[in-house]
């Protein structure tokens, strides 16, 4: 418990002192979501039908951008090595880091999504639907993203490869989330919570060795 408290404190303080990481991710989210209407006929009916899909895809891409800060910095300065040899279960450390990642990147994404949803002329229950599905679904993106980030640590061209391996794995949550089926998103979340921290921990061990 001491460990988890310090870990989360550390991640939050680091994110706060280097705000540009999170802010640029949020700006990225807003820009992508705004580019879609510009790329097509901004007819209200059309915009309403694509709104949830566009916001979900934008959130997915933005969360990919946020993955750079998850392990890479700690890997480069040697902190990750120290984390692997603390007398604490690695699974717990990884889970804590993913939780902190959700706290500092996932929650802000979810919070600005209703604002962006207004651009698509959605009625209030449509906006609520998107916010709720992102609330349950973004943790899945953080969890699956952590697996990709751990496996590509220190690889040349890692950024592109993270996208290649994470995006296909996010198909189910994207489909259920954009389709507005919150219970199924929750089911995917439960399943991902079981497997992803384990896989990310294994990936870290492989990558740090």
């Amino acid at each position: 418990m001491v460990m988890l408290r310090w870990l989360v404190w550390r991640e939050v303080v680091l994110a706060w002192r280097r705000k540009s990481d999170v802010l640029s991710m949020l700006a990225f989210f807003a820009i992508i979501a705004s580019l879609f209407p510009l790329g097509m006929d901004p007819d209200t009916r059309l915009l309403r039908t694509i709104a949830s899909g566009v916001l979900w895809v934008s959130a997915l891409l933005a969360s990919l951008l946020g993955l750079g800060r998850l392990f890479a910095g700690d890997y480069a300065d040697g902190t990750l090595e120290q984390m692997l040899i603390t007398p604490q279960p690695l699974l717990l450390i990884v889970a804590g880091k993913i939780f902190a990642q959700w706290l500092v990147t996932g929650i802000p994404l979810m919070l600005i999504s209703p604002l962006l949803a207004l651009q698509f002329g959605l009625p209030s229950d449509g906006v609520r639907m998107i916010a709720v599905s992102l609330l349950v679904g973004i943790p899945v993106l953080n969890l699956v993203g952590a697996v990709g980030a751990s496996l590509t640590l220190g690889i040349r061209g890692g950024g592109a490869i993270v996208a290649l391996i994470v995006l296909p794995l996010c198909v189910p949550v994207l489909v259920f989330g954009a389709g507005g089926n919150v219970p199924l998103v929750g089911a995917v979340l439960a399943l991902t919570m079981v497997f992803a921290p384990w896989a990310a921990a294994a990936g870290l061990k492989i990558s740090v060795e």
Binding site: V147, L151, T152, I155, R156, G157, G158, A160, I161, L164, I165, L167, P168, L169, V171, P172, V175, F176, G179, N181, L184, V188, L191, F195, A196, A199, A202, G203, I206, S207, E209
Partner: protein, 238 residues
């Protein structure tokens, strides 16, 4: 039983694999020629579909092989990781290329079948979409492995990814199916084949399937030999 274990080591596996290749490659070639003859010449024109159905002689085996090889790849990768069996990991790397190739072929032939049958090259139906995602999963695996220089790390990282992928495959399939029923507009159902299948059609399909399976075994073994040789060379030079 115990002497089977020695094939877990690449050095012992290489001669065995090389010796096995012709046993699969030659029948594959013969069956392929026979299958092409039966499928393109002997099988009669279908009164409903015309000649397009002949595409299915490749399409169906390709789709099956693409799917099956992914699972097989994950199994080999997992064994290689858990038991530190390098040969098994190399097998997984070898399978990934052939699997991706057949998945791509399934999509391509599917489009060529769909255009005259459904009137569109690409339909977002459940099966097509899941096959596309499967191809993306293969591409991710291949890209990850080829980006890592240390072969041992590549093997293990690939194993984790393959395992995560294989857990995901049924979920992806289910999600795509659910999505498909949600958006009824896009559904196009394949006319269920209740029409009696003429014997030459069935024979052609069986022969082509057998040829494709044998071909993939031969090619995978052959690539396995290449990978073993490459790694031995790496070790020898350093």
């Amino acid at each position: 039983m115990s002497n089977w274990y020695k094939y877990a080591s690449p050095v012992h596996l290489h001669p065995l694999a090389s010796r096995l290749i012709p046993w699969f490659a030659i029948p594959a070639a013969i069956l392929l020629i026979a299958g092409l003859y039966v499928g393109l010449v002997l099988a009669p024109t279908d009164f409903q579909q015309g000649d397009v159905y002949r595409v299915l002689f490749i399409h169906v085996p390709a789709a099956w092989i693409g799917m099956f090889l992914y699972i097989l790849m994950a199994v080999y990768a997992a064994i290689g990781w858990a038991y530190n069996a390098r040969a098994s990991s190399m097998m997984a790397s070898s399978l990934s290329i052939t699997g991706a190739l057949f998945t791509f072929l399934a999509l391509l032939t599917g489009a060529l079948w769909g255009k005259p049958t459904w009137g569109t090259w690409w339909a977002w139906d459940a099966r097509t979409t899941s096959t596309l995602i499967l191809l993306f999963l293969y591409i991710g695996f291949i890209a990850l492995q080829s980006a890592i220089d240390d072969p041992r790390r590549a093997d293990r990282a690939g194993a984790v990814l393959a395992l995560v992928g294989v857990i995901n495959v049924p979920i992806i399939y289910f999600s795509v199916q659910w999505w498909n029923t949600l958006h009824q507009g896009a559904t196009i159902r394949i006319a269920s084949g209740t029409t009696t299948i003429a014997t030459p059609m069935l024979v052609a399909w069986l022969i082509m399937s057998a040829a494709c399976w044998l071909y993939s075994v031969a090619v995978v073994l052959s690539r396995l030999c290449c990978i073993i040789e490459d790694r031995e060379q790496l070790e020898a030079t350093q």
